[in-house]
């Protein structure tokens, strides 16, 4: 008898299965890891437009007169004072400064917020928020199981999103939508949230819909995007896309034993805020000198450095690879590594399954994001 709990599905799971997706378990869900192939899907997003079913993410509604101040006390970034319609990227930390998760916080109304967290940390963050909720002034409702999330990413994403029937009356709003902003739309089955956010480094949108609208939206995007050669994109390409633009992935660059300062997201940490969980520890770390840093590595010897590979400098262990792969756009093995802060830029060595392979640091990021400005801006590929 198999005691393993059944994997959760999304409203699009049946569609994925019947359209050639290789399905894998991820964060308790059965998710598409690829359809046509990771390289083709990766290129589709960089060059055209792709659709992602990321329904597995967690969405927690936070409402009430004290929600603003309360969230500000848990998030590392500034949340208080956020304008309605803006989205904040932030970490939430333990008192010792270790990262619990990175997430987006949407302000949908004066007292109406949406916390969107990683699927892998959904239970943890749900518990963390519940544990810290005051007796009054803040209400929490986990909306994950009723919310589907479709990302539309790529240079042609704006064109495609505007072709949706539900978006046609809002075309002007979509056109005017700034990066890290969003608005709500009345969809057939309930409220949609549409934001200009994403995890690919391309111009793109994330559309939160009630489960009942998901399949119709997905199929409408595919049908109306045919001339744009829209493609469904799996989790494998989602990872290679974010990796090339050096976005952090929890479980890799972020962990409970890594601080946001070490991970390179100090820009999302506002130490001058009155208080937030982990602030004192992070202030102390900054004052003493942040002990580790994330570096970008290009592997010059023959091999692909992957997560966990030791990094050496002058014969000594100085850290490890947090993420590494063969970059589909740059066509070379690249890696992000967490190393001692005093390791100089330049030549390093990475241990790939027992072989010591040459690598060297390169400028951050590997590939510039095109999330703002011209969606087809030229990027020099080094």
């Amino acid at each position: 008898m198999n005691d393993a709990p059944e994997l959760k599905t999304t409203p699009l799971t049946a569609w994925h299965r019947t359209h050639g997706a290789k399905m894998v378990p991820f964060a308790g869900f059965e998710m598409p890891v690829q359809y046509e192939g990771v390289l083709a899907e990766h290129a589709a997003v960089r060059d055209r437009v792709g659709l992602f079913d990321i329904t597995h993410m967690g969405e927690i509604a936070v409402t009430g007169p004290d929600a603003e101040a309360w969230l500000d006390g848990l998030a590392t970034n500034r949340v208080a004072g956020t304008r309605i319609g803006k989205v904040v990227y932030t970490a939430m930390c333990r008192p010792d400064g270790g990262v619990l998760d990175d997430m987006l916080i949407y302000r949908l109304g004066a007292e109406d917020w949406l916390v969107v967290c990683n699927a892998s940390n959904h239970t943890k963050i749900g518990g963390w928020l519940a544990e810290h909720r005051p007796s009054a002034g803040v209400d929490l409702v986990d909306r994950s199981s009723e919310t589907a999330l479709i990302a539309v990413q790529g240079p042609d994403s704006r064109e495609l999103v505007c072709r949706l029937d539900a978006m046609a009356p809002h075309a002007a709003d979509v056109a005017a939508l700034e990066f890290y902003s969003g608005f709500t739309v009345a969809g057939p089955q309930g409220r949609w949230v549409v934001s200009r956010t994403g995890y690919t480094g391309e111009h793109g949108y994330e559309i939160y819909v009630p489960n009942g609208d998901a399949l119709a939206v997905w199929e409408e995007l595919l049908a109306k995007g045919e001339d744009l050669q829209v493609a469904p994109i799996g989790l494998a390409a989602r990872d290679t896309l974010r990796f090339e633009v050096c976005y952090c992935l929890y479980g890799h660059e972020l962990e409970e034993d890594i601080t946001p300062l070490e991970a390179g997201i100090g820009w999302a940490v506002k130490l001058k805020k009155d208080a937030f969980v982990g602030r004192d520890a992070l202030k102390a770390q900054k004052a003493a000198g942040v002990p580790r840093r994330i570096v970008c590595l290009e592997v010059t010897g023959r091999g692909i450095a992957r997560q966990g590979a030791r990094v050496l400098h002058a014969g000594s262990d100085v850290g490890y690879v947090t993420s590494g792969t063969f970059s589909p756009t740059l066509k070379k093995p690249l890696a992000l590594a967490l190393v001692a802060a005093d390791v100089p830029d330049g030549a390093l060595v990475v241990d790939i399954r027992g072989r010591l392979i040459d690598c060297h640091t390169v400028a951050f990021p590997f590939l510039a994001a095109r999330t703002k400005g011209d969606p087809r801006a030229e990027r020099t590929l080094s």
Binding site: Q34, V38, R302, G303
Partner: protein
Amino acid sequence: MVPDDRKYTQDHEWILVEDGVGIVGVTDFAANELGDVVFVELPEVGAEFSQGDVIGTIESVKAVADLFLPVSGEVVAINNEVTDSPELVNSDPLDDGWLVKVKLSETGELDKLMDAAGYDALVGG
């Protein structure tokens, strides 16, 4: 049906023997399971191995797979085209995507490998 001019292993590799030299590659099934191959590490020419030894790796974006030698012998050639263009393993694993050529030291070992029908049964093809 996979080609019946060669033998197959449990690790989804094939070996086609001509005049005591075996050409070794991976099957369509393996190439499919791996996904897009982006890196192939092959042994040095002249290296000698025993049947079942790990002689290299085939890497996709997400995973590393060992390459085993189906029979004992000396590597007499490696496919440099594949090291330059790893995608050949996906596009033509049974022909242009060959990996190594080995001079068999024990031809009897071939008898332990599967024939085409046996491999078809293994992969349900």
